[in-house]
């Protein structure tokens, strides 16, 4: 079941990324590296180590080698596991988040970027070491689709501490989660470039429950009987939008790019819009 879904997502991702040409557009930076590009005249300030002695000896002035800079990006995808991702009407958010992860991973790998995939809840669940091999995608996707999220919740403080202590290089960090907890990611956002991809379901934002219903909190596993009417649902929507406003404000003040992706959205389109914004 998971395998089928994994193949499905992989195919979708590959097709979309190929045709959509996401990534692959980075200009090559000139600089230090191993990839030889051309020879040019020496100007004051050029690195003397790069002087091409053979060309210089030919007598046409001092020449230096120019290389393509090894400008590999350090991409970190953080899949934030909380009990609440095990919910969805068309499909569960866990699946949606896996697909989002697939698109970003594949684009990064295709662009020969260094990809680190982290699964995090209260503490580190699983880390896939930095790699450039496409084969990692099957592992990470498989893990994302198969994980059990019930009873877990994200601790953003722990997450920031972990990122700061283990990732030294400036990185591109993609956070994938539903962001229902109180959040503070200012500790990582000033150093790295952070994107927050908010996975949501239409129904949870606008539930149409009626009357008595028993609901279980997937993080604390406490069960509550509640009776819902129009006014309390209205109040609920108000509380939720207040929470989201607070969330957006936090993202804006910390220069985090963010965007919501719903379970019934065209994921590829949404991601490219969020990243290009």
């Amino acid at each position: 079941m998971i395998k089928n879904r994994l193949k499905e997502i992989l195919l979708k991702v590959k097709k979309k990324v190929f045709t959509g040409n996401l990534g692959n557009t980075l200009s090559t930076f000139k600089g230090t590296g191993l990839d030889f590009s051309e020879i040019k005249d020496y100007v004051i300030g050029d690195d003397v180590r790069a002087i091409n002695w053979k060309s210089t000896a030919k007598g046409l002035g001092v020449k230096v080698n120019i290389f393509n800079e090894e400008r590999e990006l350090n991409v970190i995808i953080a899949y934030l596991i909380s009990g609440s991702i095990n919910f969805g009407t068309k499909r569960v958010k866990q699946d949606l988040m896996a697909e989002i992860m697939g698109y970003i991973s594949y684009s990064a790998l295709k662009n020969s970027d260094n990809l680190t995939t982290i699964f995090f809840d209260g503490n580190l669940e699983k880390i896939f070491k930095p790699t450039r091999k496409l084969g990692i995608l099957e592992d990470t996707l498989g893990y994302a689709l198969g994980l059990d999220s019930i009873g877990k919740s994200v601790d953003y403080d722990q997450f920031c501490t972990f990122i700061n202590s283990s990732i030294k290089k400036k990185s591109l960090i993609f956070l994938i989660g539903d962001f229902y907890n109180d959040i503070n990611i200012s500790k990582i956002s000033h150093k790295n470039e952070v994107y927050a991809l908010i996975a949501r379901d239409r129904f949870e934002e606008n539930p149409s429950f009626k009357g008595d219903i028993s609901l279980v909190d997937p993080t604390s596993l406490s069960e509550d009987n509640m009776s819902l009417d129009k006014s309390s649902l209205k109040e609920y929507r108000k509380l939720l939008s207040e929470h989201d406003d607070k969330l957006y404000k936090h993202f804006l003040t910390n220069r985090v790019k963010y965007g919501k992706i719903y379970t019934n959205d065209d994921v590829y389109l949404r991601i490219s819009r969020i990243l290009k914004a």
Partner: protein, 298 residues
């Protein structure tokens, strides 16, 4: 005792224990569903859930209260053919005004009335002539009220119509079926009105089977102990003489004790059932709850 709400079956309140236990432990088993944003939903439904719980709890409490059957024990009555009938005959002649006697007598008689809760009591006053102030009644309140308004001289102040008073108050018992008929005759003087002879008065007393307690107040010579003794002995009562407030009080206490009625057996309590009010309110609240539920589903 009057107008106090008491519960007929107070043990019904024990039902509160299972109710509150159930409120916590017997929750309805509904189909449970994972829902991600429970914290927000809980906050949003807090008010309506509180209202609903208050409604439910108050309905249950009101039902329990109605089951406990609150009542007002309004009046305690005695069946007419049983119990005592007491006629109080009080001297209100001019001499009673001396030494504050009349006020003391009123006080003590009033006290005595309070003690005879279950008996029918009548009040007669005499001086120049005798009259019935209050016929035999259970209504102690009005007797007391009347007693407080009676002044010396209300029936004249020069003479003492003792025999007439005895005769007149005996006639109060004409239609009585009471087992025990008692008259308490209080005087501080001698009879000096000659419209009714002593023999006739005593005869009437005997005819109706009235026990007469006679109380003479004041010093020696103020009243005629021989006459009073005669009345008492002939009717099966007792004669007392009092020359102080304390003594008079004791006398009335003695009479009270001597003529203790066995009230319990003859008591019948008039109950007013009030369960309809909490029951009705509970019904109203249930309808409100039902209405709320229907509105939720609408």
């Amino acid at each position: 005792m009057i107008n106090q709400i008491i519960f007929e079956y107070p043990w019904a309140f024990a039902l509160m224990i299972p109710f509150f236990v159930c409120l916590i432990y017997c929750k309805p088993k509904l189909d449970a569903l994972f829902f991600p944003t429970m914290t927000f939903l809980k906050k949003a439904t807090k008010k309506s859930m509180l209202l609903e719980n208050i409604l439910k709890t108050s309905i249950a409490l009101l039902l329990i209260v109605s089951l406990a059957s609150p009542i007002i024990q309004d009046e305690i009555s005695i069946k007419n053919d049983k119990g005592y009938e007491i006629s109080l005959i009080v001297d209100a002649s001019g001499s009673m005004a001396q030494n504050n006697k009349f006020k003391i007598v009123k006080e003590i008689v009033s006290d005595f009335l309070t003690k005879r809760v279950h008996d029918k009591v009548g009040l007669s006053i005499f001086a120049d002539f005798a009259y019935v102030a209050v016929p035999l009644t259970y209504d102690k309140k009005s007797i007391k009220r009347l007693l407080s308004r009676i002044q010396v001289g209300i029936a004249g102040s020069r003479r003492t119509a003792l025999y007439e008073a005895l005769f007149l108050s005996s006639n109060l018992f004409k239609n009585s079926h009471a087992k025990k008929k008692i008259a308490i005759l209080l005087t501080d003087g001698m009879n000096n009105v000659n419209d009714i002879p002593l023999d006739v008065a005593i005869k009437t007393v005997k005819k109706y089977g009235i026990k007469v307690y006679t109380v003479g107040i004041g010093g020696a010579g103020d009243f005629d102990p021989r006459v009073l003794k005669k009345i008492a002995n002939q009717s099966g009562g007792k004669f007392f003489a009092a020359n102080s407030k304390q003594k008079l009080k004791e006398i009335y206490n003695t009479i009270d004790k001597l003529e203790k009625s066995k009230i319990k057996a003859n008591k019948y309590v008039k109950k007013r059932y009030l369960f309809a009010y909490p029951l009705g309110l509970a019904l109203l609240l249930s309808m409100l709850l039902l209405f709320r539920k229907n509105k939720e589903l609408a």
